[in-house]
């Protein structure tokens, strides 16, 4: 055997010692960094730079010629419409996320109970509202709610109801934007919850059955605890996206009537781009950051704690 084993010293002597650059390139961390570099560049260009620029804009005066520090924010606190927008954004986000979660949860269970060979078809169909670009599907909803040609009102007229001012009355308009948001967003919850349901070990259900657990007890002590993290993450993600929503409100109501459907993003656009006060518009949009940061910290801390307990 000895004649086929090369002496260790000879091997080192004949191989060229890799240079510092080669060694650096051969490291796993270097390769990982290089492979993520395009994404890092994209994030810097499309996320970090605009965010810093928005911060810069928010500290300028209306003509963008002077630094005013936090002046724009303190000004906002004195505006009645701003507080109305804060309230509406919270109502919009919390109500929509709640209904998306409830509907997603129910539908996920229904789909989970469909035989495996038919599930694919149902999953595909139920995902349609989520995969259509929201601006396009909201346009279709706008036609359904149209003041002159509403298809809903046409149907309701046949049973002697209406016409309902879907987007003409403040309360109906709020209902309409939330409805469209729920319609678009519920499938995301459904698919996340379905994935969570599929990952719950079947033995837990069998054990619960043997112990004589009722449907509610199985749900309360098996399903929900196993889905808690997914529910929290999905709710957080959806809250952020819903809070920052622009397209649905913009296409459906533009914040009308009487600003009663404005959320942060649409009001920022109205003030900044349409009204010509870009620093104030930037300040309105940045106001979302602390609210969402606090929500994210609470939810993620809870998830970490549960992760450590496990």
């Amino acid at each position: 055997m000895a004649d086929v084993v090369a002496p260790a010293g000879a091997s080192v002597a004949t191989r060229r010692r890799p240079g510092g650059m080669n060694r650096w390139l051969q490291r796993r961390s270097t390769m990982a960094f290089l492979m993520t570099l395009p994404l890092i560049v994209l994030i810097i260009v499309l996320v970090i730079y605009p965010a810093i620029y928005a911060l810069h804009l928010a500290t300028l005066n209306k003509k963008m010629t002077q630094f005013v520090g936090l002046g724009n924010f303190t000004f906002l606190f004195t505006r009645e419409t701003f507080w109305m927008v804060v309230q509406q954004s919270c109502i919009f986000a919390l109500t929509a996320v709640f209904f998306k979660a409830v509907i997603g949860f129910i539908v996920a269970h229904l789909v989970h109970n469909v035989p495996n060979d038919k599930q694919r078809k149902w999953r595909g169909m139920l995902l349609i509202p989520w995969v259509i670009p929201p601006a396009m599907s909201t346009l279709a909803w706008l036609w359904l709610f149209d003041p002159s040609h509403s298809a809903f009102n046409w149907l309701l007229a046949h049973v002697g109801i209406g016409p309902i001012p879907w987007i003409g009355d403040a309360n109906w308009a709020r209902f309409s934007v939330i409805l469209v948001n729920v319609w678009i967003g519920a499938p995301f919850f459904m698919i996340m919850y379905l994935a969570a349901l599929k990952s719950v070990p079947e033995q837990l259900y069998e054990a619960a059955k043997i112990d004589g657990a009722t449907w509610w007890q199985t749900m309360r002590f098996v399903t929900l605890p196993m889905m808690r993290n997914i529910i929290a993450i999905t709710a957080l993600f959806s809250t952020i996206v819903t809070f920052a929503n622009f397209d649905i409100v913009r296409v459906l109501t533009r914040g009308d009537p009487l600003d009663k459907t404005h959320v942060f993003a649409t009001w920022a656009f109205r003030v900044g781009i349409e009204g010509g006060d870009i620093p104030l518009g930037a300040s309105v949009s940045l106001f979302m950051v602390p609210i969402l940061t606090v929500a994210a910290i609470f939810i993620l801390r809870d998830i970490n704690r549960r992760g450590n307990e496990a």
Binding site: P147, S148, G276, D277, I278
Partner: protein, 449 residues
């Protein structure tokens, strides 16, 4: 013969300075109409609603470019989703983009400091073609300096487009007799009282006046014209808030009475709603340029045949109409300003304006006084003469825009936020007059920051 020794360093310095001077001279040189005057010019125009209007304007620009040996590129940018405004704001921020850009009403005031003065162009055009309206001056002239050329392309009047048959049948008003084709108006009886009575009658008949009360341009311009007719100004040119005045109270009270006869969902109407209601035969009158009529020609010819465009009713302070004056501006960072000015002269000429009016089927209204009687408006139909009074050839109206004459920075906010339409909706939906006025005052104070 005297010889001077020049060091290498001195030679480079002198020739460098010479080259720089030559380059500067080149930049500042006037635009010379020769084969050697080539250069490039990027033009951003509004994407016109009327089919065929873009093509006619592009041809005008290309013909000019060919004659002047300029390499021109024309982009037609839609105003849908505020894309045109976003383009202007982005180019102003980046100090880069088109050389010549179409700017909607308020954009000139927002970008005035970044725009090339065009006094020479406008003054020559006015001398040749007659004066422009006060709206044009308000929108594009700042501290006596023209910052944009008032455009024919896209400029529009938002007067009544009335159903001849419905107004005659339900309100007893013959709009063709008030405003006969090819003749001066006989409009003394066309007042806001008559307008209100007609609105009530048409509402009772199930074909209400289709006036929106939302925050988009058509709604804001409609309410703006009514406010102007009552002399209701929210803030004057000296930045004095004048909301708690009798004229504003009168205007608001009138609008509240009118509100009762408008469609119940008028507060949510956008710029398409009035057109749709009119073409669907659900409205007897809308305040709009002839775009609804043009669509009706294609989709509902029987409605188009019964449509008559005419001036606004007369209020206590006069017969005011909302005129949306669009503009063409040259960025101060443009590298070919002289070519830009040459182009603006060309497309503001009588021949160009006539071509644009014809291509837009009468929709576009040129800014100059001598350009209000083109054959297109007299001849187009059916019914023949429906657009005769649209450009106000007999100067029956006072042209204004909502929030004029307020300072531009405040007026732009009043316009964008639809403050006047919101005042109407708040008061009409039950809020006390003084509370509505206090709310509006607080809003305007906020806009003045």
């Amino acid at each position: 013969m005297m010889t001077r020794r020049i060091s290498r360093r001195r030679f480079i310095a002198q020739t460098g300075a010479g080259a720089a001077a030559a380059a500067t001279a080149n930049i500042a040189a006037p635009f010379v109409h020769t084969a050697h005057a080539a250069g490039s010019l990027n033009v951003g125009m509004w994407d016109h609603w009327v089919p065929g209007a873009n093509a006619a304007t592009e041809k005008l620009i290309k013909d000019w470019a060919e004659k002047e040996k300029v390499d021109v590129k024309v982009d037609f940018i839609t105003s849908q989703g505020q894309k045109l405004n976003l383009t202007a704001v982005a180019e102003g921020q980046a100090k880069s983009g088109h050389d010549v850009l179409f700017m909607g009403s308020w954009m000139v005031s927002r970008q005035a400091e970044l725009l090339e003065p065009v006094d020479d162009v406008v003054n020559d055009l006015v001398k040749e073609n007659g004066d422009v309206s006060d709206v044009a001056k308000y929108m594009a002239r700042f501290k006596g300096v023209w910052k944009a050329v008032p455009s024919t392309f896209g400029s529009q009047m938002k007067g009544p487009a009335s159903r001849i048959d419905l107004l005659k049948k339900h309100a007893g008003i013959d709009v063709q007799a008030l405003y006969p084709a090819g003749a001066p108006p006989k409009s003394d009886s066309w007042t806001y009282d008559a307008f209100l009575k007609a609105a009530e009658a048409c509402h009772k008949a199930g074909v209400p006046f289709g006036i929106g009360l939302g925050t988009t341009a058509d709604s804001v311009d409609s309410i703006g014209a009514i406010f102007s007719a009552f002399g209701a100004i929210l803030i004057d040119e000296n930045e004095k808030i004048t909301i708690k005045s009798d004229s504003v109270r009168q205007a608001l009270d009138y609008c509240k009475r009118l509100y009762a006869f408008l469609p119940p969902d008028a507060p949510s109407w956008d710029d398409a709603s009035n057109n749709k209601a009119f073409v669907a035969g659900q409205a007897s009158l809308i305040l709009n340029p002839p775009s609804a009529w043009a669509v009706a020609l294609r989709d509902a010819p029987n409605i188009a045949e019964q449509t008559w465009h005419h001036p606004m009713p007369k209020g206590p302070k006069g017969r005011y109409a909302s005129f949306l004056q669009q503009n063409l501006a040259i960025w101060s960072f443009s590298k070919n300003k002289s070519a830009g000015k040459s182009l603006l002269r060309h497309i503001s000429s009588r021949a160009s304006a006539e071509a644009m009016v014809s291509a837009s089927k009468g929709y576009d209204i040129p800014p100059f006084a001598k350009f209000k009687t083109f054959g297109t408006w007299a001849d187009i139909g059916p019914p023949k003469g429906t657009l005769y009074h649209y450009p106000d050839p007999h100067q029956d109206q006072i042209l204004a825009v909502a929030a004029m004459p307020s300072p531009h920075a405040v007026a732009a906010q009043i316009y964008a936020q639809g403050t006047m339409s919101k005042m109407v909706v708040r008061h009409a939906q039950g809020e006390a007059m003084e509370k509505t006025l206090a709310w509006a005052e607080s809003e305007v104070e906020g806009f003045m920051r």
